[in-house]
Amino acid sequence: MKTTSKLAALCVALLLMTAACGSAKKSSDSSGSAVVVGVIGSFTGAAAGTLGPFQPAINAWAKSVNDAGGLRGAQVKLSVKDIGSSTGAAGLTAVKELIDQDHAVAIISADVNQQTWISYPDSHHVPVIVGGVGSNAGPGVFQTSASAIASAYEIVQEAKSAGPSLGFGFCAEVPLCASIGNPLKAFAKDIGGVRVGFAAALSSSQPDYTAFCQQLKDSGVSSYYLAETNEIIARIIKDCAAQGAHAVPLLSAANGSATWLTDPAYEGALVSDFDVAFFDTKIHAVKAYRDAIDKYAPDISQAASVNSTPLLAWVAGQAVQTAVNKVDGPVTSEAIEKALYTFKDETLGGLTAPLTFDKSNPSISTCLFEWKISKGKRVVMNGGKARCAPQDALTPFLPKAG
């Protein structure tokens, strides 16, 4: 039942998850004068609501790079594999095509099921740049936007700033949705001063969320976080506000919509962002990103103005570009991977928190940005600086290598 919602929920859940890891080795060469970059993701189907803008955004990145002369003089050629709602071997097949047929030198992943194929690029020495969706960590896997498990830590920090207790709702259909529950509790204990008041399974087939909203009121939690689809998050926030619940919603910028600024139910909401605030066009890199989207992907201009998903794609592309520019010699997958491992406090021009990729540690970003909604406006918090989770706190929740 509910294929679509489950998969969509899975997508959201994976934003909050860590998963398996791989190992980096050498890779094939690029084909001809073009640098082939593979892109894989669930851009249509159930996850389209969340990931739909990812593909046009990465296309916009490629066009902007090529218009600017390409990567070290070679045109970027994207090979995009949209695996829709497939949950089986489709992802693995697509990755095999990218590596064996298209000779991709790097893969940008927005696949919520990337754990089904992540070992294949590893065995073929092709680096995988995870664009903020999913959070497989390990050699050969490079997260360019904040790790999902780090976002759980950030949620707890935000919850602490909102009050002493946190409510948590998660999609009932997909087991992974519930997986953030334990990290939240553990981080609350680590951080102190905040506790998880309750956790509730939410069925996407519920036409009514009275029980959850009433629980919000009865438990007296000061904030709540929902691991659910965009639509259900919006519905619950609206329902609960109508029923008089006053807890502060804790949101992810990847779920953003224009309603956030117009609906009073969102007033005071705290938002965690995987990258720098997408609306902060005072930052040169953000301005360049938004201009490129307006120019090369006008269809998602609106989405890019309210939601951080296109920026996740852009940042992943920027990471590839930065790595290629660091390559000394032929642009091979192995060379790109090597270049990625030279990243040290790399912010990609200010788009991300400092990225440091080190073979001895999982290549994840532990830092998130925060902003809030106040009087119908987005307000950057912490002075626009990212807040980082201690690596030690995250380690128990990262998958074992292998």
Binding site: A19, A20, G84, S85, S86, A89, E97, E173, P175, A199
Partner: protein, 928 residues
């Protein structure tokens, strides 16, 4: 608590609308519309299009959805339903699944899934407070609308002419037709009404949920639980059931809102938990109109010549062995294909030979792969042992699911399996003993020192070897006693039970085997990726698998190969984008509907192709069969031990049967001693067949006792009674249509040998084979069927089919045979031949016969003693001569007017509704 009750009443009211529509169409047509939710989906999207996208005022948009689109869809559905009258359950399920896919595919082609769509609330948003609970005007409107619909519909059915016709079509569509009201028109009205109600529920649900075709479609399955509360017939109870489920779900959410264990899934699972409970506890569920007349169309038993099949097997195997040479990057997909061959073989065991419907096979896969992972990874069991463990774990789950199959086979089993899949997902997928909540489960591949079985190629060959083993196992089962029992059960469960086989044992066994094989398939498929998560085992996939398995031609393993290829390889090799996928869904739905409504004859391999294949196989074209004249009876060397002359035979003591207010049998007493033929005569509707059903255990009497050879049979079911020595034939013949004459007759003996012991359902010993062979041959000769022995019963005339049913009964080791109008459909000569056979059976086997007959010449020819019943009362018993002479019989039963029809004597056939009606008149020289 009040806010929860209010919320529950609101959602319950919407489900009530859908559920009442569902029940109305089911009870009038016999078709349980699994696409009912899809109708609501279509309506919701249409409303979205009209109101939110085109700006149409909501009342107009709602009217278009409910008042125009609803009736149009209703008319279309009735056209489909009309073609399904008398179809098998599987065909009906397939058709409605097809409709579901058509609607879903269409909606998804028009509206790409995944994009955010929200129908704005259109009902008044104002709210007021009662006892601290906030109630919105929209909630009041929804409740009032639903209640008004329930009351109106109930009154309509009770008091309006069309409503009465709808109720009448449930009870007796033929009578309604005779009375001048077209059942088709009445059913069309029901479909229109039902569709309108589904459309209304869709419009009301639209603003409450994200607009998602799959979500809305399956949300309405909540209506199934409500329909079960109403026993699938009562609209008021269905309405109350829906409200109860709505409130129950709201309260469960309240009390378990903080629960993260399996109880958190209680609320969404509630409708199916109620359904399960009712299937386990409900005394009886009534069959709807259109479901009562079993389909007797013979299934195709044609097979290509063995040379071709053997050649094709070798070719396919060679191709599969060569796959790693050409599959390239798709090798994993081919491994998955092989795993799905096992899935379809396991599903085929249920769907094909035994005609059962399982909509939970993906759930068995999930159980298998989860169990395997825990055993192999957590407990370090060796790969093969863990695989066997997974199969063993799934078996009792299959047995558990088979319980509803025992009590209520058919549709209720289908619903139970569908519900099982949903409950498993909602309540148990998250549990640590299944998929847990963290990372996907690891599904290791075999690891041996002497071969690289962990590589993609190595693992492919491991899976191929297992597939071959499973195919051999399935072929063995098909040829085993269990296979024969399942085939016979599919043709006539009643006939099989009356022959002595405990069919529930067969049902449970095949469910266990099927579940185990599906579990194995789950492991093999999981091993392809070495990972498995709950998202890979969505319950809807089971519905899809069932539809694919139904459509694919050929027997095992051919259909499984084709189905698995369609399921796994076609999507890989065909260009797949979202639009193609959605169009494929739409096209597949159309194919499913067309296949389901196609006449059976058109589903078989066309005759020219058969001829071609036979020529290719070097076989002669099968000879056409002409009519077979009754041959003189051959002498028989009786091998069967004759019945003891001292056996007491059958005794019926004070049997009374009431159906509601109707007394079908009123204190009937009769004795059927061995060694003679006893007649039981009376007009149609006198209660003769009911008495037979009481004797054979198909009907439980209100009072009275049935004795067999001095032993009370009251507590025994039909199979046990058959094994106690009571055989029977049926007025509406219960033959195994897809079997030959010899196989039918053999089953008369073998069914009793299968008995209740599960082992005996699988294994046939040498001694038993000899017994079956000898008794079958003896019975064939006794009944003069030697020339027809290898013909399929479906090709025989009615008269010879009657002989076959008699021979099947004779082949059993029975002391008393209950023969229900064995001469019906026979001409004069055939009847005389039958009389000779009956006399010979009694003489040589020493059995007793209780003969229900309208042909008085036959009665006079063979009976020693006759009982006469009328309107359920026993009005006379005596010798044939005494019966003929009885004024009571002549006056009360035979009537004063006696005509002769070509020397063929018949007792009157009289309608229960008109005691004076004489549709046929008795006569004959003996009577006069």
């Amino acid at each position: 608590m009040l806010p929860f009750i209010i919320a529950g009443l609101t959602t319950g009211s919407i489900f009530a609308l859908a559920a009442m529509g569902l029940v109305l169409t089911y009870k009038t047509s016999g078709i349980f519309n699994l696409a009912h939710g899809a109708l609501a989906t279509a309506s919701a999207f249409l409303f979205y299009f009209l109101h939110d996208q085109r700006g149409m005022p909501w009342p107009v948009a709602a009217f278009v959805c409910v008042g125009i689109a609803g009736p149009v869809i209703g008319v279309l559905l009735e056209l489909v339903a009309r073609r399904l009258q008398g179809a098998t359950l599987a065909a009906k399920v397939l058709a409605t699944v097809g409709v579901l896919l058509v609607i879903q595919g269409t909606v998804q082609v028009l509206y790409t899934p995944g994009e955010d769509r929200q129908v704005q609330s259109f009902l008044p948003a104002s709210a007021f407070t009662i006892w601290g609970a906030r109630i919105t005007a929209s909630q009041v409107v929804i409740f009032a609308l639903s209640a008004a619909a329930a009351v109106t519909l109930t009154l309509f059915l009770r008091y309006s002419r069309n409503g009465l016709a709808m109720r009448a079509v449930v009870d007796d569509p033929e009578l309604l037709d005779v009375a001048g009201t077209s059942p088709a028109r009445v059913r069309r009205l029901a479909w229109i009404t039902g569709s309108c109600m589904a459309a209304a529920s869709g419009v009301l649900l639209a603003p409450l949920l994200p607009l998602d075709a799959m979500e809305l479609t399956f949300l309405v399955v909540t209506a199934f639980g409500a329909a079960a509360v109403g026993a699938f017939t009562s609209l008021p109870l269905t309405y109350l059931g829906a409200l109860g489920i709505g409130v129950g779900q709201a309260l469960l959410q309240k009390y378990f809102v903080s629960s993260t264990g399996f109880v958190a899934g209680l609320a969404p699972s509630l409708p199916f938990l109620i359904l399960f409970a009712l299937l386990l506890a409900a005394p009886r569920l009534r069959r709807p109109s259109g479901d009562g007349v079993p389909n007797r169309r013979p299934r195709s038993s044609w097979q290509a010549p063995w040379q071709l099949r053997a050649g094709a097997s070798v070719a396919v195997l060679a191709l599969l062995v060569a796959v790693p040479q050409f599959a390239g990057i798709h090798l994993v997909n081919w491994t998955s294909f092989l795993a799905y061959v096992v899935v379809f073989l396991s599903l085929g065991l249920l769907v094909r030979p035994s005609g059962q419907v399982s909509l939970a096979h993906v759930s068995f896969m999930a159980i298998g792969v989860a169990a395997f992972s825990h055993l192999a990874v957590d407990h370090h069991w060796p790969w093969l042992v863990a695989l066997a463990g997974a199969a063993v774990i799934a078996a009792p789950v299959g047995a558990l699911l088979a319980i509803p199959a025992i009590r209520f086979p058919g549709l209720y089993l289908a619903l139970a399996t569908m519900g099982f899949g949903l409950v498993l997902q909602q309540m148990f997928y998250r549990e640590p003993y299944m998929f847990g909540t963290s990372y996907p489960l690891s599904v290791p591949r075999p690891d041996v020192s002497w071969a690289n079985l962990g590589s993609d190629t190595g693992y492919y060959y491991v899976v191929l070897a297992i597939v071959v083993a499973v195919a051999i196992l399935v072929a063995f089962i098909a040829r085993s006693r269990l296979g024969r029992l399942l085939t016979a059960m599919s043709d006539s469960a009643t006939g099989l039970a009356a022959s002595g086989a405990s069919i529930n044992i067969s049902r449970v066994l095949v469910f266990c085997v099927s579940a185990s094989l599906a579990a194995v398939a789950g492991v093999l498929d999981g091993g392809a990726l070495s990972l498995a998560g709950g998202a890979n085992y969505l319950p809807f996939l089971s519905v899809q698998l069932f539809a694919v398995a139904m459509i694919m031609p050929g027997g095992a393993p051919w259909f499984a190969l084709l189905a698995a290829a369609a399921q796994t390889l076609v999507p890989v090799y065909a260009a797949q984008d979202a639009t193609t996928t959605n169009v494929s869904t739409l096209v597949f739905g159309i194919v499913a509907v067309v296949f389901a409504i196609k006449p059976w004859s058109e589903r078989q391999v066309p005759a020219p192709i058969r001829r071609l294949l036979h020529r290719l196989g070097g076989e002669e074209k099968p000879a056409a069969h002409g009519p077979v004249p009754a041959a003189p009876l051959e002498p028989v060397r009786s091998l069967t031990r004759p019945v003891r002359p001292s056996a007491a035979g059958l005794r019926v003591e004070d049997v009374t049967v009431r159906f509601g207010g109707l007394v079908a049998n009123d204190k009937i007493n009769l004795e059927v001693p061995v060694g003679r033929i006893t007649g039981l005569i009376g007009p149609n509707g006198a209660g003769k067949s009911t008495l037979f059903n009481v004797c054979s255990g198909l009907v439980r009497p209100s009072s009275g006792t049935v004795w067999m050879d001095g032993r009370r049979l009251d507590h025994l079911g039909p199979p046990a009674r058959a094994r106690s020595g009571l055989g029977r034939t049926f007025q509406q013949m219960e033959l195994f249509e897809s079997l030959t004459v010899r196989q039918n007759i053999a089953m008369g003996c073998e069914a009793a040998l299968a008995g209740w012991n599960p082992l005996d359902h699988i294994v046939t010993g040498v001694r038993q084979r000899r017994i079956i062979r000898e008794q079958t041959q003896e019975s064939i000769q006794l009944c003069g069927l030697t020339e027809l022995a290898d013909r399929h019963v479906g090709t025989l005339s009615t008269g010879w089919r009657r002989h076959v049913e008699l021979a099947r009964c004779v082949a059993g080791s029975h002391e008393v045979l209950l023969l229900d109008e064995p001469s019906s459909g026979l001409d004069r000569r055939e009847t005389q031949h039958l009389g000779e056979i009956l006399g010979r059976v009694v003489r040589e086997r020493g059995v007793g016969i209780l003969l229900v007959e309208h042909d008085m010449a036959l009665v006079n020819q063979v009976c020693d003693h006759v009982y006469v019943i009328d309107f359920g009362k026993q009005i006379f018993d005596g010798t044939t001569r005494e019966t003929r002479a009885s004024e009571i019989v002549r006056h009360a039963y035979l009537g004063d007017d006696i005509d002769v029809v070509e020397g063929h004597d018949h007792v009157p056939s009289r309608s229960r509704n008109d005691p004076t009606e004489r549709t046929d008149v008795m006569g004959g020289s003996d009577v006069r």
